[in-house]
Subunit: 234 residues, 2 copies
DNA sequence: TTAATAACCGTCAATCTTACACTAATTTGA
DNA sequence: TCAAATTAGTGTAAGATTGACGGTTATTAA
C-alpha cells in the first residue's frame, strides 16, 4: 500500500483569541463574521489553513490580516474537534491566543471585519464553540500569568507600576496590596526604572519602567510568583 | 456561497506519548510501525482520526487498541502541522500524552504492534517529528508535575513514600531529601496511610499509602509545591 | 546475637509572604 | 498663596514555608 487513500480528510481552521489591555480593562477583539453560516454574528477571527501552511503560520496570517501586527506573542491553545462544531462541514479548529498592545492596534480598526473590543465580562454570544474557546483562553491566561511574566506583552514599551497592577488586578478580578505587589515585581529584576514620569493619570505622576528584555527572556520559564496566594486559585 | 468548497482538506492523525513507571524508571511505550512509510521503525502509537470522531475519542481509541486500558489520564499536548512532516501526504498530528500504571498493562504486551518500553534516556531514533513530540511531552510532564499531583497516575492504587520519591526523582533526574519530601507530600493531605506494609524492597518494610480521591480532585488545580527549588528549573 | 539495610522522624535557621499606615509630590481652586 | 485633594511611593514586624541536617527503629540474614 502506498499513500493513505482510505482515510478521511478534514477542513482545518485556526481561530485567534486576541487579548488587549486599554489601561483600564482586559479586552477581547471580536469580529462580525462575514460569511455564512452565522453571517453577521460575533465570532473570533479565524480562517482556514492553507495547503502549504503550518498552523502557526496560519494563525499569524489571520492575526496580521485583522490587526496589521507582526511579532505578536502567540501560543497554541487547543485543538477543538467536535465533529458537529461547524454545521456546514466538519472542521477542526486549532486555537491560538494572542496578547497585543492595544495602542499599537489603533491605526485602522480594520472596518473590513467590523472588529470591536469587548471587556471580558461583556462578551456577546459567539458562534459555534467560540465561547468555550474564550473561556479556555481566559483560564490559561490566568494560569500562565501567575507563573510567568506574560502580561507585559499587553503593555506598551513604557508603563508604570500602577498601570501594571491595574492589569494584574483585572486579570485576577481581585485587588492586591501595592507595597507587596511592587516589592515582588521589582525583586524579579525584570524592570528598569526610567527618568520620566507618566503625568496624565495622577497629580504626582508615576515613574515609567521598561522591561529588561534580556532578563525577560532568561527568566521567562522560571516560576515566578506575581500574585498573592496562588494556591487559593481554582 | 454555501459550503467551504475551495478549501483544502487534510489528513489528521493522533499520536500518543505514553508514559509508564516500573518502580525504578520512567519509561515510554513505543511501537514498531506496521506500514509504509518507515515500516519497522520505532514510532509513537498513532492513527488517523475517523469521520465522526473527535480528537479525544481518537486518542482514546488508539491508546486502548495498544494497551487495552480505559479511563487513562490523557491530555492534549500539541498540534503538529509542518506541511512536510509526513513525506507521503500532508498530515497534521494532534498529540496526547498519557500516564498509565505499567502494572495494569502487563497482561498482553500487544504483540501486534511490537510494543516496547524504553527508559527515557534510551529512546531510539523515531520516525518523522516524533522525537520532538516526546521532548515536548517530557517537558510538559515535568512542568505540570511540579505544580499538580499528576504523577500519582503512574502508580498503582497502593504505593509507598519511597516509591513515590523514586518516581519524582526520576522525573526530575535529581535527588531530594526524604524528610523534606515526605513532609511536603503529606502536608497536602492527599495521602491516606494504610495499615499494611510493602516488604519486598526493604527489610523493615514501608507503609502503603492510597490517594484520597476526593481531595485529589479538589486540589488538582491548586498549585502545589512538590519539588524543591522549582525556580531553578529551566 | 550481631550486622546490615532501609524506613522513619524533628529541629533550627533562613527566607518568603502577608498585613498594615503614613509621607511625599503635585495640581486645583478657594 | 494656602489648603485640600489625589495618587505615588515606601518599611516593618509576625507568621509561614523551605531547606539543611543526623540519629533511631524495625526487620532480616548471617
Amino acid at each position: 500500500m502506498t499513500g493513505y487513500s482510505h482515510q478521511k480528510r478534514f477542513l482545518v481552521a485556526v481561530d485567534c483569541i486576541i487579548f488587549g489591555f486599554d489601561g483600564q480593562q482586559l479586552k477581547l477583539l471580536l469580529i462580525q463574521r462575514g460569511f455564512e453560516p452565522e453571517k453577521g454574528k460575533w465570532s473570533l477571527m479565524g480562517g482556514f489553513v492553507e495547503k502549504e501552511e503550518s498552523f502557526e503560520l496560519a494563525a499569524g496570517r489571520v492575526l496580521h490580516k485583522l490587526t496589521g501586527l507582526e511579532n505578536v506573542y502567540m501560543e497554541q491553545l487547543y485543538a477543538f474537534s467536535d465533529p458537529a462544531r461547524d454545521p456546514i462541514e466538519r472542521t477542526a479548529s486549532i486555537t491560538y491566543f494572542a496578547l497585543i498592545d492595544i495602542n499599537q492596534y489603533k491605526h485602522q480598526i480594520s472596518k473590513d471585519y467590523h472588529a470591536e473590543w469587548f471587556p471580558l465580562n461583556k462578551i456577546p454570544k459567539l458562534i459555534f464553540d467560540h465561547t468555550e474557546m474564550v473561556e479556555m483562553a481566559k483560564e490559561k491566561l490566568r494560569y500562565k500569568a501567575a507563573l510567568h511574566p506574560i502580561l507585559f506583552e499587553l503593555l506598551p514599551e513604557k508603563f508604570t507600576l500602577p498601570q501594571l497592577q491595574v492589569l494584574y488586578e483585572g486579570v485576577y478580578d481581585s485587588t492586591f496590596d501595592k507595597r507587596n505587589f511592587s516589592r515582588k515585581v521589582l525583586s524579579t529584576g525584570l524592570l528598569v526604572k526610567q527618568k520620566e514620569k507618566e503625568k496624565e493619570s495622577s497629580k504626582r505622576g508615576a515613574f515609567y519602567f521598561k522591561l529588561d528584555k534580556r532578563k525577560y527572556k532568561t527568566k521567562f520559564d522560571a516560576f515566578l510568583n506575581f500574585i498573592p496566594n496562588p494556591h487559593k486559585l481554582k
